[in-house]
């Protein structure tokens, strides 16, 4: 089955204002498309349901990286290649730089956008765990105005999110307050390039006087959407890094993880690997230096 260009309408209004106007006049009728690395795959397989697409690719208002003293803001249509190539992101948000370098392949990174990765809402989204442990905020825009929500509240269910039908994801804002945190990101997948992860884990933690004084853990593919692991965090907060803490973190993760069985892996394997990744992160905390 192949996509049929006769049954899909696509327009390119060219400006953000015109896109928002159209989304507002007919909420839910038009589906935004940026780099197309998700929608065009569905299209090729003959399973792209939206018949009306509105082009975001090439709208400069949506493709930017703005660095401020206390934060970095990233336009929704910024590509993963843009993110990889950006020095401030490499220096200040290394987990995001690392995740960007994993996404697809060179050809996908030059087209796939950060906003697309989030709006698509795959449980396995590569950029999500890093954004979650960096306390990212999402800025939504519509003709009604703008609003910000914590990224941790963006996904509300499998492929569901907090956006209204007339809203567009405008930007992702990342506070720069993790310089002193130990940071970790690991993806477990089948193939180096292109592989959709079986499980991925990101972590940021602050160690003070041998105790974990702050910790954020977030996973891909351990729930119907990318999510923080709050119970596992609670099991570790205020604890020293030792065998007992590791065991209680593993137990908490096993209870908290709600992965699915699918073509790439199964729930039992995903949960166990998730626990192993948490343990690996804790082991890195014991070693000297600043692991990632």
């Amino acid at each position: 089955m192949r996509g049929n260009p006769q049954v899909h309408e696509m327009i390119a209004p060219g400006t953000l204002a015109a896109v928002l106007e159209l989304l507002s006049s007919k909420p839910g009728e038009w589906t935004p498309i940026a780099g197309g690395t998700e929608l065009m795959v569905a299209y090729a397989a003959g399973r792209l349901s939206p018949s009306k697409l509105i082009n975001l690719w090439g709208i400069p208002d949506l493709r930017f990286i703005e660095t401020n003293p206390a934060s970095i803001s990233i336009g929704a249509a910024t590509t993963f290649r843009d993110l990889r190539a950006h020095q401030a992101i490499a220096a200040q948000l290394p987990l995001l730089a690392k995740a960007s370098s994993w996404i697809g392949s060179v050809a996908n990174q030059s087209r796939a956008s950060l906003g697309g990765n989030l709006v698509n809402g795959s449980p396995a989204a590569d950029s999500s765990p890093a954004l979650l442990v960096y306390d990212a905020e999402i800025e939504l825009i519509s003709v009604r105005g703008r609003r910000r929500i914590p990224y941790a509240e963006f996904h509300t269910g499998y492929k569901r999110n907090a956006m209204a039908p007339d809203e567009l994801l405008f930007a992702v804002h990342l506070p720069l307050r993790f310089a002193k945190h130990r940071q970790y990101l690991r993806k477990v997948g089948t193939r180096r390039a292109m592989a959709i992860s079986k499980v991925a884990l990101a972590a940021t933690a602050l160690i003070e006087d041998g105790l974990i004084s702050e910790i954020r853990l977030a996973a891909a593919s351990l729930a119907p959407f990318p999510a923080r692991l709050y119970q596992t965090e609670s099991a570790l907060l205020g604890q020293p890094i030792n065998a007992a803490a590791t065991q209680s973190a593993r137990t908490a993760l096993m209870a908290e993880a709600k992965p699915i069985d699918d073509i790439r892996s199964n729930a039992v394997y995903r949960t166990r690997v998730g626990a192993n990744l948490v343990e690996e992160f804790l082991l890195t905390l014991l070693s000297e230096g600043k692991p990632q």
Binding site: R2, M10, A12, T37, Y43, A107, R111, R192, M194
Partner: protein
Amino acid sequence: MTATVPASTPTIRFTVNGEAVAVRTLPMKRLLDVLREDLHLTGTKEGCGEGECGSCSVRMNGELVNSCLVPALQAEGAVIQTVEDLATNGVLNSLQQAFLNCGGAQCGICTPGMLMAATQLLEVNPHPTLAEIREGLAGNLCRCTGFMRIFESVIEAAAKNIEDTAEPASHAR
């Protein structure tokens, strides 16, 4: 082979291999099909058709893309380079020659994509390490060569870059 084209079909203008073209086509027609069917540039191959294999790789505005995932409308105003642009008057460029010398091409289906991915890599990074070559070509699958001969081809082409720019070989990291 003339398809019936609806009246609303827009004309999309872009540059391909240095030549300005105007194609009347449906917005959601894939760039891959526009290149092959409308412009008869059949060097670009279709492999998986879903962005996994890299056979349809072309360069668009200086970046590598899978042309099977680019709707024609998004090519408006773009500068596209396909494998047909590499040779000059039938004379292979140094990268193509290296593929020939090293056995980097066997059945040939992946070759145009490999060449474009390698062209992109060498433009961004003229002296890549083996790890960088592997990463640069990681989105391109080959079922014949086992990849080693392709990597060797790129290494040879990069070495030629070094000779051509008269830099000492030690600069190749």
